[in-house]
């Protein structure tokens, strides 16, 4: 995910802003505007819930839906 996506992402539970923690970035030759977050966590600034970023995709399912997966 691009770091600029943080501007429009919110905690699905309480709609508060999220902070990026433990981020690792793809190599973008020092072009910070293109900064691509490959892994890390998004943490709610209010309730403290953690949402993982895996393979560049943030998983913002509410915690009770995260494990719910058929097959």
């Amino acid at each position: 995910m691009k770091e600029s996506l943080l501007d429009i992402l919110r905690c699905p539970l309480d709609k508060h802003e999220l902070e990026l923690e433990n981020a690792t970035y793809a190599d973008t030759d020092g072009d910070t505007d293109a900064a691509e977050v490959v892994s890390g966590e998004l943490v709610c600034t209010d309730c403290g819930e953690h949402y993982p970023i895996d393979d560049g995709i943030p998983n913002l399912l509410p915690p009770d839906m995260r494990e719910e997966s058929p097959a």
């Binding site: 501007d7 919110r10 699905p12 399912l61 839906m65 097959a71």
Partner: protein, 196 residues
């Protein structure tokens, strides 16, 4: 024969079909005109599946396009298409008023609960008994993330009932206008625009 057999062997991600094409075509056309003079338009596609519609909109308009899906296989495929992808339940993790447009080709097939199956394709196709099990919660929540001047592009099938969807959209504070439709042997597909 159940729905899965009718649709072929794919069980992980819904692949582009006539409904995807109609939504992509009509939304690109309509949105292209709306956004021509607005350089910083942001668009969300909910339930992106393969990412086909989202990448068409990204290619054919000057909008930034975000794609979301409940299905991890779908967001993976959408990202490989070059679309910014987020795993999400409808619009729940997005900021108030963040989008100038929201697109949705929802799961809409009315499905007898006894005939429901259990894989990602069920989530992609089944709209529950009345076909609106996902459409109704979408209509109730999408207004929050939409800019006051924003527009929703919603694909609806005659199998679900366009009049019923328009009525429910009205109850959620939207006025609906059909911008495209196309007939097939077993259903007519309609693209509705919803304005607040």
């Amino acid at each position: 024969m159940d729905l899965k057999d009718q649709r072929g062997v794919e069980t992980d991600v819904y692949q582009p079909a006539e409904d995807s094409e109609l939504l992509a075509e009509s939304a690109c056309d309509h949105l292209g005109k709306r956004t021509r003079d607005r350089p910083d338009t942001t668009v969300l596609e909910v339930g992106t599946g393969s990412g086909y519609v989202a990448s068409r909109v990204a290619d054919e308009t000057n909008a930034r396009v975000i794609a979301s899906d409940l299905n991890p296989h779908a967001v993976g495929q959408a990202r490989r298409e070059g679309v910014e992808a987020v795993r999400a339940d409808l619009v729940s993790p997005f900021a108030d008023g963040a989008f100038d447009a929201v697109l949705f080709n929802p799961p809409y097939l009315p499905t007898d609960p006894d005939n429901e199956w259990d894989d990602w394709m069920e989530y992609a196709l089944s709209g529950g008994e009345d076909g609106r099990a996902v459409i109704d919660p979408f209509l109730a929540s999408v207004g929050r993330v939409l800019d006051p001047d924003g527009v929703v592009y919603l694909l609806v099938s005659s199998l679900t009932g366009v009049d019923e969807v328009v009525e429910h959209a009205g109850e959620a504070g939207f006025s609906a206008v059909a911008i495209a439709d196309e007939s097939f042997p077993f259903e007519t597909l309609t693209v509705l625009t919803l304005l607040q």
